[in-house]
């Protein structure tokens, strides 16, 4: 699809910003997001091409502004819901439960 991910040759994104001695994961959640995505793939209910495509289908502004591993998390959740492994309702319910605990 001709969406924003296909960015070879685009202009206007500014300088390449680099971090000195960048850690592999900036936060624990990044490593977990990666791990859960790879685990979901290993489970065999969706493949890598589907995983890339679900990210390509995100609204362009969202794709550009969301952080990389957060995009992976959203892609994983979306694929698992699409494939019927989890439901949107139970995910929302679990999130509400954990948010309640956190506050």
């Amino acid at each position: 699809m001709n969406s924003i991910h296909d960015m070879g040759g685009m202009h206007g994104y500014g300088p390449i910003v680099r971090e000195e001695d960048e850690p592999v994961f900036h936060h624990e959640w990044e490593g977990k997001a990666l791990a859960l995505a790879r685990i979901a793939l290993a489970g065999g209910h969706f493949n890598l091409d589907e995983f890339r495509h679900v990210q390509e289908r995100m609204p362009p502004a969202h794709y550009l502004t969301i952080r990389y591993y957060e995009r992976w998390l959203e892609g994983t959740v979306a694929m698992l819901v699409e494939k019927g492994v989890i439901t949107a309702e139970e995910y929302a319910a679990r999130l509400a439960e954990l948010s309640g605990e956190a506050s």
Binding site: H5, D6, M7, G8, G9, M10, H11, Y13, G14, P15, I16, V17, R18, E19, E22, V24, F25, H27, E28, W29, G31, K32, A33, L34, A35, L36, R38, I39, A40, G43, R52, Q55, L64, T65, I66, R67, Y68, E70, L73, T76, V77, L80, V85, I86, E90, Y91, R94, L95, L98, S99, A102
Partner: protein, 196 residues
């Protein structure tokens, strides 16, 4: 932008659901994180490069069939099953990008740095590689050919940087210290030999 606390909660929600449903066990999650944080990384690619610098037969095998040569060295992990290694020379400078997402030779370089996955790099590496190289402080001779490799399919690309001048006869450890991740992506050269 969502806060780290927010995202961490959403990750926890998914993790707890998958654990509860018996679809994954906790040690598996820990194993993947440990693999990427501690075991995969450019230190592996550097060993491949240094071997190529010091062993002409290995270098020939690496350039002819990188996948097999990398398996030979024991780095046959995920996103490294189908590898191509491209050699920098005085005449040709290679640069690797994935314009469509973030494909990267994990098996030899580990996970890509944030800048490699960013829109500025993904957009300009293909169309203005000399501008990108300049941003990284890498000078390229006017008459050299700059070759961009867009990793859009299933092959993963790694650059074999030129061996720096005055490094023949250096020990393996000394040579390893000169091979940076950036030089194996192609945005920089390997480091110069330290002054005597």
């Amino acid at each position: 932008m969502t806060s780290d606390e927010d995202v961490a909660l959403r990750v926890r929600a998914l993790e707890s659901l998958l654990l509860e449903k018996g679809l994954v066990e906790s040690p598996a999650i820990d194993e993947i994180i440990d693999l990427f944080e501690n075991r995969m990384g450019p230190q592996n690619g550097a060993r491949v490069i240094v071997r190529a610098w010091t062993d002409p037969d290995f270098k020939a095998r690496l350039l002819a069939n990188a996948s097999d040569a990398i398996v030979e060295m024991g780095y046959d992990a995920v996103q490294g099953e189908d590898m191509v290694v491209v050699e920098n020379t005085r005449a040709v400078h290679n640069l690797v990008v994935c314009t469509l997402c973030s494909c990267f030779p994990w098996a030899t370089l580990g996970l890509p740095p944030v800048w490699y996955k960013s829109a500025p790099y993904r957009s300009r590496a293909a169309s203005d590689p000399r501008g990108v190289l300049a941003e990284f402080g890498t000078a390229i001779a006017d008459e050299a050919e700059v070759r961009v490799w867009d990793s859009n399919a299933e092959l993963r690309y790694m650059v074999l940087p030129e061996q720096p001048a005055g490094t023949d006869g250096m020990s393996e450890d000394e040579l390893l210290a000169l091979v940076t991740r950036d030089s194996m992506i192609g945005v920089t050269r390997a480091l110069e030999a330290p002054a005597p």
